[in-house]
Amino acid sequence: MSDKKAKSKQEKYGEVAYYPGCALEGSGSAYNSSTKALGKALGLKIKEVENWNCCGAMEVKNIDPKLQTYLSSRVMSIAANKMNMNTVMAPCNGCYHNLKKAEYDLANDEETMEVVDRLSKKAGHETYEAGQVETIHALDWVKETIGEEGLKERVKNSLDGIKIANYYGCMYTRPRHIFPEKDAGPGSESTSQPHFMDDLLEAAGAENVEFPLKTACCGGAHTLSDSDTSTLLVSNILQAAEAAGAEVIATECPTCHSGLEMHQIRAEKTLGIKTNVKIIYFTQLLGMALGLKPKAVGLHENISNSFDFVKEKGLA
């Protein structure tokens, strides 16, 4: 990437409209608190999207995909037209994916444009037009504003000696066509071998292990409706992480994170498969590397208990 382009992204992402989404107000609360704490520690500004709504998640998309597109477009419309922001940052893979999908559909499908326009008028707000904002993930946010070198300069408690398997889940990279900025040459994120989380954690001192299931399905959407399938898939991911030598699975999606935590317990109870690998959000790991206390990054809000581990590693 050219210096000019890098600088423009740095400036652009320095202040973003923050879209936490529903999961971060519930089961992913630790991701919410750690993202905010990390941003503050890095001097990045966030403005929460005013009066935001659900992105349509999986439930609405399942019933009516155009309604989901409208719901996601409303979030982007508020950011662009009410808050005058040009970037929306969504830490949740589901929200990130849905906003990117809405962006794509609104740029390419006339029927979707008509439906979204009709619903927006009915709801009494300006119709979102493709291109008004750029949606980014929390990984892009940190990577493009601070980057590896910036992180190295700020690290107070190195993650040195911590072996990490980076788990991205499925929605961060699929389907490829809704992420035009990925697979765009040197420096860009890869849809087949994502590495942004690896890069950031390595810059904070961690040792990333070779992990072949970094984008494999965890059965997340079926975690309650078909728990047995999810438990088997998660259990295999956890065993693979341990076989790769990882002590921690770093996550960047609240659905994956909760699924890994819940099914780690369930696998032990129902299958007798015990794994000890810790499941920690990348924002929690980076926050602690910057010197934040475990409670400040919501470690106590995780289902699994990682306190003894982080203490042992000198992060608490």
Partner: protein, 147 residues
């Protein structure tokens, strides 16, 4: 053409290979178990599994056949490619210092492919409405436009 093993038999064999440290010499069998898992998926869709190769591998051709008109099946695309990658590592460099570790990992990759496919055979929607962006109820969508 090899005999298509039952899903239960594939599962049993994968569990054996996962539980005991596999050897580099198991790589061909693990790749074949991956192909058999995919064959089950293709047959369940009412098609004859292809004998073609893609990038030199039947496994990748079978995946492509399985994903035809079913983008949700791409949720196991990288797992298939990782399986081929491990097969290559183990067969091209069986004496490599990392071979034992690679042989330990390959059954877990093959097992993930099997679990995804067998899960999807039981619960067709697995992966459908998360990463594929495909609505489950397309027919309903056609008849009930959004108001």
């Amino acid at each position: 053409m090899t005999h298509l093993h039952a899903l239960a038999d594939i599962s049993q064999r994968l569990n054996q290979l996962t539980a005991q440290p596999a050897q580099p010499s198991d790589a061909a069998e693990l790749l074949a178990l991956g192909e058999q898992s995919l064959e089950h998926w293709v047959r369940a869709k009412g098609k004859e599994p292809t004998q073609d190769l893609r990038e030199g591998y039947r496994l990748l051709a079978l995946h492509r056949q399985g994903a035809d008109k079913d983008p949700s099946f791409n949720a196991c695309r990288e797992t298939c490619r990782e399986l081929v990658y491990h097969y290559n590592l183990l067969t091209l460099e069986p004496e490599h210092p990392e071979s034992a570790q690679r042989a330990r990992m390959m059954p877990l990759v093959a097992n993930h492919l099997f679990l995804f496919i067998s899960g999807k055979l039981e619960s067709q929607e697995l992966g459908d409405f998360c990463c594929a962006s495909r609505p489950l109820r397309e027919k309903v969508d056609e008849t009930l436009p959004v108001q």
